[in-house]
Point group: C2
Chain length 72, copies 2
């Protein structure tokens, strides 16, 4: 499907966020992004840019490449 | 530096492209992107979106996560 990569990225982020006990709001704050934007990313609704992928990875304390695991 | 991630992504793409003996033009054609856009990405000048990261990864026959190796 055309938007499978977006959905996989979103589910990777959600899984990592939850495993750290973070709310969307807290992750958004750490990444300097808006909470509703994090929600949309996790639902696979956004074509996230490299800069924001890196910001979210930093906020989660993981390498950016980890967020793209299984994205194809 | 603020734009280090863009530069690292670009150098990863350039390295993989060259290792396959592909020109920028050929990679652009395979990824359905413009040659000048590939050039700008390789120079770290663009904030590439997930969809285009995936398109380039497909064109190079590698997982999308590979293009982000060392991006931090």
């Amino acid at each position: 499907m055309k938007h499978e990569p977006r959905k996989k990225l979103g589910s990777n982020i959600r899984q990592l966020r939850r495993s750290q006990g973070l709310s969307q709001e807290k992750l958004a704050e750490k990444a300097d992004l808006h909470r509703t934007y994090i929600g949309a990313i996790e639902r696979g609704e956004r074509n996230v840019s490299l800069d924001n992928i890196v910001a979210i990875a930093h906020a989660l304390g993981v390498p950016a490449s980890k967020l793209l695991e299984g994205v194809d």
